[in-house]
Symmetry: C2
Subunit: 379 residues, 2 copies
Amino acid sequence: MNIGLLGCGVVGGGILDFCAGREDLTVTKVLVRRPRPDLGALAVTDIADIVNDEAIGIVAEVMGGLHPAYEYICAAMKAGKHVVTANKAVISAYYPELTGLARECGVSLRCTAAVGGGIPWLTNLERCKRLDSICELGGIMNGTTNFIMDAMHASPVSFPEILKQAQELGYAEADPSADIDGDDVRRKLTISANIAFDALVQEEDIPMFGIRTVTDGDIRAFKAHGFVCKLLATAKAAEGGVCAFIEPTLVDSHDLEAAVPKNFNLITYCGEKVGRHSFFGQGAGRYPTAFNAVEDCLDIVAGKPGFYTQAMKPAPVLCGGEAHPYYVRTACPDAFLQSVTVEHWGDGVVTACVSVEEMLRWGRAQLDKDPGCFLAGIR
Amino acid sequence: MNIGLLGCGVVGGGILDFCAGREDLTVTKVLVRRPRPDLGALAVTDIADIVNDEAIGIVAEVMGGLHPAYEYICAAMKAGKHVVTANKAVISAYYPELTGLARECGVSLRCTAAVGGGIPWLTNLERCKRLDSICELGGIMNGTTNFIMDAMHASPVSFPEILKQAQELGYAEADPSADIDGDDVRRKLTISANIAFDALVQEEDIPMFGIRTVTDGDIRAFKAHGFVCKLLATAKAAEGGVCAFIEPTLVDSHDLEAAVPKNFNLITYCGEKVGRHSFFGQGAGRYPTAFNAVEDCLDIVAGKPGFYTQAMKPAPVLCGGEAHPYYVRTACPDAFLQSVTVEHWGDGVVTACVSVEEMLRWGRAQLDKDPGCFLAGIR
C-alpha cells in the first residue's frame, strides 16, 4: 500500500527507513515545508498533492502540533484514506471529532505511536478489551521525567542541573514544560482511558502535579523511607465516570516501577480476569516511534478496521473517591495541611489519606503561594 | 465460530467462562475422559465426535501432555480445523511436524498461552518480527521458580521449605522437577527461539541448570554483593545457529528482573531497531492461560493465518561464543574450577569469564560428584 508521509523529521526519517525495501508498504510522497533535496522526487509542499493522489492508501502524520495536523488528517480521511499518526496532542484534543470522522468515512485511524513511542501499548490494550474488562491502567508514560527522577535517585543532583543534562542529551526539549509539568502524560492518559473505558474524558479535566519543584532533599527523604519517586499516571473505572490523575508517586523501592531506568516507560493495565499486564520499552525516539507507526500501517494492510474502540460516552473525571497518603513539602503550611499531617520527613510532612481531588486542587493553589511546593502520592 | 474443547480442567473451565455469552465464539463440544454431568450435552468422550463435526471451526487443546494431544491436534488439522493449544510440551517436541501440517492443511495453529500463560508474548514477538530483526530474547519464563527465588530473597528460608509452601499454595506441582530443573522453561524458550529466529532448535540441545540446589547461604552471598538471583532463559542469534541456555543468573538488584515478584513472569525481546520490549504478567493460572487461548481464537475469527512464522531452518545450539563470570559453590572444587576462580564469596567462588557451553557442561558433570553443587551466571 502506498503511504503519503506528512512531515519528515526524526520520526519521519525512521518511517522511511522501516519501509525501505518492503513490498507491502511504499512511501510515495512526503509533505515538507522547506525544500529537501535528499528526498528527491518524494517531496511535495502542498497537502493537496497527497490528499488527491488516488494511489495513496494511508496518510501517516508525524508533523506534530494541533494545526495544520488536524485539518490535514480530516482532509485525508474525507478523501477515503486511512490515517496513522504519532501525534498525541491532536488525538487527545480532537478525540471525538477524529474517531467520529474515521467511522463516518469508513477508514482506519491508528495512533499506537502516540502513547508509549515504540511500546505496543494501545494494540495490547485493544486486544485485552476484546475479552476482558479493564479495571485500571497507567504507569510511567514519559521518558524525560523518568530520566530525571532516575538520575536524582542515583546521585545527589539538583533538578535544574539534571534537567540541563537531559536537554543536552536530547531527552528533554528546550522548553521542557510539557514533559515536567505533566501535559504530555495527560494526553497519553486521556487517549488510553478513552479507549480502555469507552469514554470521552476531556484532557483538561484530569488533575495533575508535575516534578518541576522536586529537590534533592525530597529524594533523600524518600530513599530513607524505602521509597522511589516516579511521575505516574493513573486511570480507573469509577461509578459514573473515570478516576484519572497524574502525580509524582512514591512507590516501594522493590516495585517494578522503581526499577525502570533512564528514559524508559512502563505502562500497565489490569484486566478483571487476566490480572496485571505491564509493557516496558522506549517511549520516544526515532526508531521506537517510527516502529509503531509502521506497525499500524501493516495492521491496516492486514485489514484492521477503524479505531481501537467504536464506543464513547462522555465521562466526567471523578477523583473524589480515591484517597491515599501524601508527602508534602511547602514553606507555607496552612491549616488544611496541618490538619491532615501525621508525620514529618525531613523538610516535608506525610499526611493521612486525603482524596486525590482535594489534594491536587490544594497543591495547584499552593503553588501560587509557594512556587517551590512539592507533593507526591504514597502508594 | 464453534469451538471443540479438548480437556476441561482448570484452563478449560476458564475458556468456557470467557466464551460464555459471546456471539463470535461458542464452545459446542468438550472432550472429557470421565462423565461430567456439569457440562450437560457439551461433553463427549470420543475425539471423532469433534473431528468429524463440520460445524466446529476451531479445536482448542488444553489436555496437556504429549499423547494423545499430538494425535488429536493432527487429526483436527487434517479435518480442516484451526487449532489453538496451551500445550508447550507438544509444540516444542513436535514443532516441525505441527507447523508443517498446519501449512499443508491451510489452517491456523496458535499457541500463545503455551509461552507466558496470559502474557501477550508470542503475539508481540510475531508483530515485532514483521518489521524488525530480533537480536535476543528471554527472561523470567517460569512462575514457580520465581516464586521460590523471590521468597528466598525476602526472608531466610531453605529451598525444601519454600518448595513445600509453593506446593501447598498450588504454585508448584507435586513433582516439581519440570519447573525447578528448567524443563518447562526450556520448552518455552525452544518455541520462542524457533519463532524469533525462524529456526528449528531441538529442545534437548539447549543446556540448562536449575535451582534445586540453591541454599540460603548462596542467597546471602548474592545479596551482600548487590545481586538478586533469578532463573533466566536466554536465546540470541548466533553465526550459524542459535545461542540458547537456561541458568540461574545474578542480576543487579536494581534491574527490572530483580523487581519481578511472586509467581510473575517478565519476558523480553530486543529488536535491532526498536530496542528492548519487556512483557510482565501471570505466566500461568486458570484465567491468564484461558485468556490467551481465547484471544488466539479471536485472531483466527479475524482471519489471522497459519503459525507465527512460516520459516524454519535447522539451527544447532551454539553456546561456545557466549562467556561471562559465574558464581559456583561445590564441596569438591576441581582443577578446572580452581583455574578459573578469581574471588571467594561465602562458601562459593566467582570465576573469570567462562563460556556458557563449558560451564554448563562442567556443572552437569559436577552434579554427579557433588549433588549439592550450585552455579549461577553473573550478568
